[in-house]
Each structure stands twice: as structure tokens, then as C-alpha cells.
């Protein structure tokens, strides 16, 4: 088993003055400093396609890393959650001792402030001709997911709005959050429709920034934590699951989190009821609701009732989520939300979250990310983190 020894969230939200490579190295050095390690300790490097260049090569060159293991698994926003699991596996197999995982993005500085992320779809994709001509976008894939959930289970716009309300109640304590003003259910359901039934405030923000985490061997993590008088964060379980259209027989209201969650819970030998805090990729409100159901925090179809009345708000509800304000309010670097989810979960398990949102005795946390798109193709990644 491996441990997350360092975590760092880049403070910028608008990186007009920095290159992607700068954001990568600043994030990496931040996580190394947090761990009490230096760049020369890194022997494994994990990155996504946000790292410019061929796989890990340009950034490894730029940072002058001395590596013996790399992994560029790309499942879009969930990549970094899978990287933590893959790093733990590589460490257990003796392939590396100190794994650096980075993310950086600057879509705002690059002028895509409206959130229209440039897609890299190619006609060589076998699905291209059956989807792209019809105006497929991230928005309408999630819109169709929410519409079907509403049709099958009666989920209302007010219920989805509670997810945004909870995120905003957390973001008001985070001075780095892009949007700090709390919103009400009424404000969310009165915001304009963008892709029925999703409204503007059901959608996440787009920000510049980055983040990094360090995964390492138990003995290294324990000696580092002892020197810093803080608890260790153990990767107790993990799971991953790509999900797609299954030849045309699929249920878009069920995500890969069913399988990735089941795998992680079995490995960690814990149950959903044992989890004190969750970081869930909140690309849209519906993404959170479906992960809650599929991870087993409530029955399928009951997500709407589960999130109501502040149940996700720290200090009020039973299951605090995204206490930094999440991608809905705080930070969504490069539209790849998995990294920031890991970072806030590490803060919670260490007891280092903002005091106003710190979950008491947070000894077990879950991270889940959906990369790609609900509604068509995605990969879910789950981590269960334990304080030790």
C-alpha cells in the first residue's frame, strides 16, 4: 500500500502571466515542499495530456527529472485519480519510490473563458461520424443524463440546485475560490437554461491553475509525516472503470462509479457508511448526484432526496462534499477536475481543511472522478483514503 505524502493546489485562477510548463513545475515543487521532499527524490512521473509535448517527455525534460517509471494514462478529468492508483501499484511492484503526479491548465488565459473546451475529436474515431455532426457537446451529454434521471426517478431542478448551494456554502470560506458568493436554491433554478434541464448554475466554472500530489512508499511517508507532526494519508483502496455505449444497449443514468466504487470498497474493506467526507467531480450538479447513487451512499434514484436540505454541507449534513467549493465554485484547472478532488480529500484526512469546513475526526475519505462524459463515454476512478 502506498501513501499520499504531498499535495498542492496552485493558487492562480487566471494564469495570463504563466506558461503551462511553469504551472506544471510550480505545482510539482509545491507538492514536493508539502511532502518535505525535493525534485531529485522523484523517480516516477505521472501526467495527463495537459502536459504539453509527447506524453511525459517535454515536461520531464523541462523539469530535468531523473526517472525510472512513467505513466500517461488519459481518461480526461479522472486521469489523476487513476494515476494515484497506478502509482501505488508501481510502488508496490518496486518500479519507483517517489511518484509525482501533475496537472496544469490555462483555458482562461488562452481565451476560452466561456467554457467551450476545445475538443480533440478526430474522424478516425469510429464514433465520430455518428455523433459530431449532430452537435454533440459536453453540455448536452450531461443534459441528456439529467433529463433521463428526471424522467426515470422524478429528480427535480430544486434537488440538483442543492448541490450547487452546498458547494457555494463551502466556497465562501475559501479566499482563493473563483466564486465565493453563496447562492440559494431559488437563484439556481432561476438561472437560465443552457441544456435542458441543466441551468447555468448547474455547470462548473472553467479556471486556470494546476495541482500536484506525491505518492510514496509507506516507510518514506511515515518518516516524512513524523518529522512534520502530522498524520499519514494511506491509499486504502482504488478502482477504475471505463464505461461506454455498449453496442447501443446502455443506461446513461448509471456511471462507471458502480464498478470503480465497488472495487475500491472491497479493496479497502469498508462500506459507504464508514466514509466521513467525499470529493466528487462536480462538472455538473447531475454528475455529483449520480456518483452518490452509484457509490452506494443512497439507493439508485434517491440521489435527489439525498442531497436536499444541506445534506452535503459540512457541519450541517451527513455527508460533506467538496469542502473547497469544488469545480462548481472554487477551481477547475484545464477542465480536469480529478486533481483538485484528491487535494481537498488529503486536506480533510490530515485535518488541514479550512476550520469552517473541516470534518471532525475525518479518518476515512473517498475521492471519485468521472472523466470524459456521462451520457456517452467516460472513465470513473475511485480512491479511498485513510488517516494513519
Amino acid at each position: 500500500m502506498a501513501y499520499i505524502a504531498g499535495a498542492y493546489e496552485h493558487p492562480t485562477r487566471d494564469a495570463g502571466d504563466k506558461t503551462l510548463a511553469q504551472l506544471q513545475i510550480e505545482s510539482a515543487l509545491g507538492a514536493l515542499a508539502d511532502a518535505g521532499l525535493s525534485k531529485s527524490d522523484v523517480d516516477g512521473f505521472f501526467c495527463g495530456p495537459d502536459a504539453p509535448g509527447t506524453g511525459p517527455l517535454s515536461i520531464a525534460d523541462y523539469m530535468n527529472l531523473d526517472l525510472r517509471h512513467v505513466d500517461t494514462t488519459n481518461t480526461s478529468g479522472s486521469s489523476y485519480v487513476l494515476h494515484v492508483a497506478h502509482a501505488a501499484q508501481a510502488i508496490a511492484a518496486g518500479k519507483c519510490n517517489v511518484a509525482l503526479i501533475t496537472l496544469a491548465g490555462r483555458p482562461r488565459a488562452d481565451g476560452r473563458r466561456k467554457g467551450a473546451i476545445v475538443r480533440n475529436d478526430s474522424p478516425a474515431q469510429p464514433d465520430y461520424q455518428w455523433e459530431q455532426p449532430f452537435g454533440m457537446q459536453i453540455l448536452n451529454m450531461y443534459g441528456m443524463t439529467a433529463m433521463r434521471h428526471r424522467a426515470l426517478y422524478g429528480t427535480t431542478s430544486e434537488q440538483l440546485a442543492w448541490i450547487r448551494v452546498a458547494a457555494s456554502e463551502h466556497a465562501k470560506h475559501n479566499e482563493l475560490a473563483m466564486i465565493r458568493k453563496p447562492v440559494t436554491v431559488e437563484e439556481v433554478v432561476q438561472s437560465p437554461l443552457v441544456a435542458d434541464p441543466l441551468r447555468r448554475l448547474d455547470c462548473c466554472i472553467t479556471s486556470d491553475g494546476g495541482g500536484a500530489v506525491i505518492v510514496t512508499r509507506p516507510e518514506i511517508a511515515k518518516s516524512l509525516a513524523m518529522g512534520r507532526f502530522r498524520p499519514c494519508v494511506r491509499v486504502k483502496g482504488s478502482g477504475e472503470r471505463p464505461q461506454h455505449q455498449q453496442g447501443g444497449y446502455f443506461e446513461i443514468t448509471e456511471s462507471g462509479a458502480v464498478v470503480s466504487g465497488r472495487t475500491a470498497f472491497a479493496e479497502a474493506r469498508v462500506r459507504p457508511a464508514d466514509i466521513k467526507y467525499v470529493s466528487l467531480y462536480d462538472s455538473f450538479t447531475i454528475t455529483v448526484l449520480i456518483q452518490l447513487e452509484d457509490l452506494g451512499f443512497c439507493a439508485k434514484g434517491q440521489g435527489g432526496r439525498f442531497v436536499m436540505d444541506g445534506n452535503l454541507i459540512s457541519g450541517i449534513g451527513k455527508l460533506p462534499f467538496n469542502t473547497d467549493g469544488g469545480g462548481l465554485c472554487n477551481n477547475h484547472p484545464g477542465a480536469r477536475g480529478g486533481m483538485t478532488k484528491i487535494i481537498e480529500a488529503v486536506r480533510q484526512v490530515r485535518g488541514e481543511a479550512h476550520p469552517a469546513v473541516q470534518v471532525p475526526n475525518c479518518d476515512l475519505a473517498l475521492v471519485n472522478a468521472i472523466g470524459g462524459q456521462l451520457g456517452v463515454r467516460h472513465a470513473s476512478g475511485t480512491l479511498i483514503l485513510e488517516r494513519e
Binding site: 474522424p123 455532426p133 452537435g135 453540455l139 424522467a151 443552457v194 435542458d196 453496442g247
Partner: protein
């Protein structure tokens, strides 16, 4: 409602028969001769049993709305949808010639072809008026 004009599908050797038939107003679905199951989107190898013995079969053109989403900020507004074909599989498409505020998951729809920018016949669907008894 005037529809959004779809972009060209860029057919491949694997899919050319579909687009040729669509030009003639025939809607083809791939079915596996080995396991008899129809699939979407069309491909050479059956996604269920992996047999390469798949054939183009003419579909009825009828289906039901699996889900949909109205793109309110697009100009023109358009409706993204999944339609479950009577033959079994569910396909991504657009709902056209319809009132976006009068759609419902489960409603009956029928195929209608709309031209892409380059003149391909794109398979889309429009609601079937309910028969009142």
C-alpha cells in the same frame, strides 16, 4: 423551428453502405448473423460476440425518445437526443420539426432525413402525432 445544419459525417469504408442507403431514404442497421443481435453504431465486428459476420438490414425507422436536451443558447436552438430504435439499440441523433417544449422521454418518433452541409442525408427523428381515439 428551423434546424441547425449538421456537419458532414465523413464516412469510412466500414460505413459507406449506410450513407449510400440513407441518400435513397433507406435506414440501415447492422445485425450480427451469428448472435442475431442488432447494434449501434454500425461496425464490421459484432460488439457482443465479436463475429465478423454482420449484415446491413433495413430498419423500420420507428423509435422512442430515450433522452434529449435542448441547446438553448445555440443559434439556431437544436435538440440533441438519443432514440431507442424498434430494432433494439439506442442511437445519438437530433429531434427536428418539433416544439422543443413539447418533447418527452418515451414519446414515439419516426425517422426523417435532413441534409448536412455537404449534402449527406442525416438520420434524425421527429415526433409522431398521437392518435386520439
Amino acid at each position: 423551428m428551423t434546424g441547425r445544419i449538421p456537419s458532414d459525417p465523413q464516412p469510412t469504408a466500414e460505413t459507406q453502405p449506410f450513407w449510400d442507403a440513407a441518400r435513397e431514404g433507406r435506414f440501415l442497421v447492422k445485425r450480427c448473423r451469428a448472435c442475431t443481435k442488432a447494434h449501434w453504431y454500425p461496425r464490421t465486428h459484432c460488439p457482443f460476440c465479436a463475429s465478423a459476420d454482420t449484415e446491413w438490414t433495413e430498419a423500420s425507422g420507428g423509435g422512442t425518445i430515450y433522452s434529449y436536451s435542448v441547446m438553448r443558447r445555440a443559434e439556431p436552438v437544436y435538440v440533441m437526443a438519443y432514440v431507442t430504435l424498434d430494432e433494439g439499440p439506442t442511437m445519438m441523433t437530433n429531434l427536428v420539426d418539433c416544439d422543443p417544449d413539447a418533447l418527452a422521454v418515451g414519446a414515439r418518433v419516426r425517422i426523417v432525413y435532413k441534409p448536412s452541409t455537404g449534402g449527406f442525408a442525416m438520420p434524425m427523428f421527429s415526433p409522431v402525432p398521437e392518435v386520439r381515439s
